[in-house]
Subunit: 201 residues, 2 copies
């Protein structure tokens, strides 16, 4: 006879970063909550997954045909930020600095994993760039091998369109310690160093 | 307009050990799963919480009136292990060594948190000890301040019944390094050292 919680523990173990012990802890925690609270939790999971879909304009996540950012009249429709996934949109929105709109690629180029250019939403990107005009295109993509490859590919794709294309700066993260930073990042920070207008020594 | 995932993220943040970033990760992960898988997850959470109850014999968790261990005819009904909560039963069962039955106290004495002896299932324990006879009572309780207090209280409670009462051994955890172990544990390990029958130097 299996343990009453074994099915629940198995379900929690499917989540990323949750191992056996964490799953057990979460399962027992669920029992300590009121039935009502657990119902709210499980209904939220189910309902959110059931109702979320891709925005027909930027391919970020939305409850309606278009996402709240594409519908927002205060967003600058002439600034486009290209990102790998909807999670990136979420992270960039947290900085509250970019006020334009997004285009979600749906992944990064990775031929070994079968992610070729045609898998990404590049056709949709080109259609969008042709139908609207943008003052600036920002590529906000992870500085990983796949990210760099994707950035290079998109840059070559956009070259004939003569657009202002920028990428996020490489450099030291805030609070970094020069003694502990890897030499590649340090080199990028050195190459990208900013020159003061006037410098009185 | 709120983010489509904000409610789900808030729900995940209620779980122990899940902060803002982990909750975001889990919420986006849910979107990457099929609706069917997410339904199984949320239904398992809801159904488990709805159907789990306390075993009427040992107060561990069960789907029926009695838990699977109390119903198991192969368990030794004359060995009783007293534990703080149902999670402890789960952990002890993992070692596959103890073959007796359990009694779940439902907490540890902590007067400052309002957990007095009458809150724990001690009346039920005494009733059980009077109605059945046990060869051994094992106190498997955390060696914390509350745990020690609870062990002392139960020992005083059981003293008039002249039962064989044992507690888990203190000592070095397997794989420990003497240089890093705290001195209290080291002292307990020294006090509880085992003497070899014959020692040829």
């Amino acid at each position: 006879m299996e343990h009453p919680l074994s099915r629940l523990i198995d379900q929690f173990k499917l989540l990323p970063g949750i191992g056996q012990k964490s799953a057990e802890r979460l399962a027992f925690y669920m029992l300590s909550l009121s039935k009502q609270k657990v119902d709210v939790f499980s209904d939220t999971v189910k309902q959110t997954r059931a109702h979320v879909r891709y925005c027909e304009c930027c391919y970020s996540i939305a409850f309606e045909a278009r996402c709240r950012l594409c519908l927002d009249p205060t967003r600058n429709q002439r600034q486009l930020c290209i990102v790998a996934d909807a999670k990136s949109v979420f992270s960039l929105e947290r900085m509250q600095r970019f006020k334009g709109v997004y285009h979600v690629l749906g992944g990064l180029l990775s031929p070994l994993d079968g992610i070729h250019p045609e898998v990404l939403r590049l056709k949709e990107l080109l259609a969008r760039l042709r139908s609207s005009s943008f003052d600036e295109i920002v590529l906000a993509i992870n500085p990983s091998i796949e990210g760099e490859a994707t950035i290079m590919y998109i840059k070559s794709l956009l070259a004939p369109l003569s657009l202002n294309v920028s990428t996020l700066a490489y450099g030291l993260p805030v609070g970094a310690d020069l003694d502990y930073i890897d030499e590649l990042t340090l080199e990028k920070a050195y190459i990208g160093r900013s020159v003061e207008e006037k410098m009185s020594l």
